[in-house]
Amino acid sequence: MNVAQSLKDATVAALIAAVLFVPIVGLVLDGQDLVTHLPRAVILVAVVFGGRLLISMGVQTQLGRPLRHAAAALEQVWSRVGDVAGGKLAWFIAGLLLVLVAIPFLPSTTNYLIQILSLTLIYVLLGMGLNIVVGLAGLLDLGFVAFYAVGAYGYALLAAHLGLSFWASIPVAGLLAATFGCMLGFPVLRMHGDYLAIVTLGFGEIIRILLVNMVDFTGGPNGISAPRPTLFGLSFGRRPEAGEVAFHDFFGLDYDSSYRYIFVYLIILMFTVLAVWVFKRLREMPIGREWEALREDEVACKALGINHTTTKLSAFTLGATFGGIGGVFFAAMEGFLNPSSFTFLESAIILSIVVLGGMGSIFGVILAAVGITLLPELFREFEQYRMLVFGLAMVFVMVWRPTGLIRPGRRAFGVEGNGHGQ
């Protein structure tokens, strides 16, 4: 048994724990005074030391062997999840869709749950958009929220000034965001990595600051209301405005506020599924391969006749379109917009979804979007420790799986073009 190594590991773990716990738990602000509670920190550090030592020693004994095997088996099962999710389990996807469609109609479902699910789906949609830019084309974009904002405000403003309906706004706002994506694309074509990240970060902030300051146009910090979507002209309000017919009147139902949430949820579900499908196709198309090739080696791409300018621009533009459409749904769901919904934190969350999920992967990004929106809700019990747990979970994922939850497998090609053979 390797006692020395175990002691070393435990000491390192204890040191890290000390760095974390002494300031967080050991120092407490009491009014104006700083009170030290060192014993609490020491106890926690001791627990970490003991725990780490026990685990190290434990795995090396006869008793620990099953534990080791279990860990290895778990790792193996997990590495398969990506392959399985890659397309072999069509029925699994169909089942999942069925459940997602059925959820709002279950008696125990609350409006709150439907809203959380809608938000999760919007994040999946945004994740797919950013996945094109970051995951496939390898362009680190820290200002993705700009396109989300353009889509959301586009919808609200088009409705307010031009009276455009929700359905007409989806393509128009998508195009608007695409135009912004293209506009951002031009100046950053020559940039890579860190420089690109900083410029996109700036772009995201410019859009937000414009929204705050163009008070006459956007309502500034007070925000702007976005119209509720309608179903073939049927509104979901309790008392429809003049000239409108209410959904519940038309179908002879009693008014229920949940109809509106369910309606928006189903639309978002439909478009998110569409977005995932489009992303999957894009990845397998020549343009998708070129994005990936550009990520791998720009110089070699050019020497194969690939125009890096148009290829990069197309990634930015398509990614932005996804973001813009996500924005329309966000506006339709919330009914009210203000610039504080589009801060840098939002960009960071979308980027974390892509990175945690596994760049370029579909299933991983969906999983990460679900995790990132649902976990903070589930951890509401922990109150102030909620964000700490959330952060810890992220750290653990990155330590355990540096390439993201699921590393996208490469498509397997069979001889003589039988597609997915082999």
Binding site: V278, R281, L282, M285, P286, I287, R289, E290, E292, A293, E296, D297, V299, A300, C301, K302, A303, L304, G305, I306, N307, H308, R410, R411, A412, F413, V415, E416, G417, Q422
Partner: protein, 273 residues
């Protein structure tokens, strides 16, 4: 034969600040020939390649590609435009798309031969599927030609060095070029692999009619397979002719060996990468 030049380099010079890296380079390359550019380290061989493929813009002079129908000046075109005219290249340091599979590397290279319509691709129309299947078939042919079918679905970056070299040549050929520029294809290969590579380069020319321009340190390779050798030293052409002529040119011997008389060029050990 004398009038069918695929590539004409006329008085090309390039200056980097105070350094004249190439000075008045002129030579002609026959269509369907294997032409080697040799010279000591720092002679400007790769710089010349970079001028031909558009990575550098010559300070002075012309580079003309004679296509099937018309002549095109290459010295003012961007890299991707030159590639689309049918000039492909490989690199001294391999530049594969490391995280993509071998076959995907070959699919990317077929840019001009696939269906690039966005809508057709998203809905996978019949025409699109046919074009993709064709591209895959051609990719498999190239893998077979290079003996790489077994590793088609492996990530290019995980392949052994020799296979990566061959894959890079296959990728350059997959775009159906008329001129392929190989920058030290034998660098880092062992004796056996070098012999195989010689055979492959010959077959590229004989079976696909591509003209081959290559930079090589390995004199064994150069003397065995090339029809025409251009020798550079200090950014100038010091000799130009058949392997035999060049081999016995006193200027060449001087450049390689100082003033000694011995000619140990044939079968010399591979030069540095």
């Amino acid at each position: 034969m004398a009038n069918d030049a695929i590539l004409t380099v006329e008085d090309v010079s390039i200056r980097f600040g105070g350094l004249l890296a190439l000075s008045g380079i002129s030579f002609r390359m026959e269509r369907g020939s294997i032409t080697a550019v040799i010279g000591p380290n720092g002679a400007g061989k790769t710089t010349l390649f970079n001028c031909i493929t558009g990575f550098y813009r010559p300070t002075q002079g012309h580079i003309v590609l004679q296509g099937e129908h018309r002549r095109r000046r290459l010295d003012a075109l961007p890299i991707h435009a030159i590639a689309r005219l049918g000039v492909a290249r490989t690199y001294q340091n391999i530049r594969l798309f490391a995280q993509m599979s071998a076959i995907e590397n070959l699919l990317v290279a077929q840019r001009g031969m696939v269906n690039r319509n966005l809508i057709a691709g998203i809905f996978q129309t019949r025409a699109f599927r046919r074009a993709e299947a064709e591209a895959e078939r051609r990719a498999w042919e190239w893998l077979a030609f290079m003996g790489l079918e077994g590793v088609a679905n492996r990530e290019a970056g995980t392949l052994p060095y020799g296979q990566q070299r061959r894959l890079e040549v296959a990728r350059a050929m997959a775009g159906q070029p008329t001129l392929i520029c190989l920058d030290e294809p034998a660098a880092g290969l062992n004796a056996q692999e070098t012999v195989e590579l010689n055979g492959l380069i010959r077959r590229l020319r004989d079976e696909f009619g591509v003209s081959v321009l290559l930079i090589e340190h390995h004199m064994g390779v150069v003397m065995k397979i090339s029809d025409h050798v251009v020798v550079l030293d200090h950014g100038e052409v010091i000799s130009d002719g058949t392997p035999d002529t060049v081999q016995n040119d006193p200027e060449v011997i001087k450049a390689y060996l100082g003033t000694e008389e011995e000619v140990p060029i044939v079968g010399a050990s591979p030069g540095g990468a």
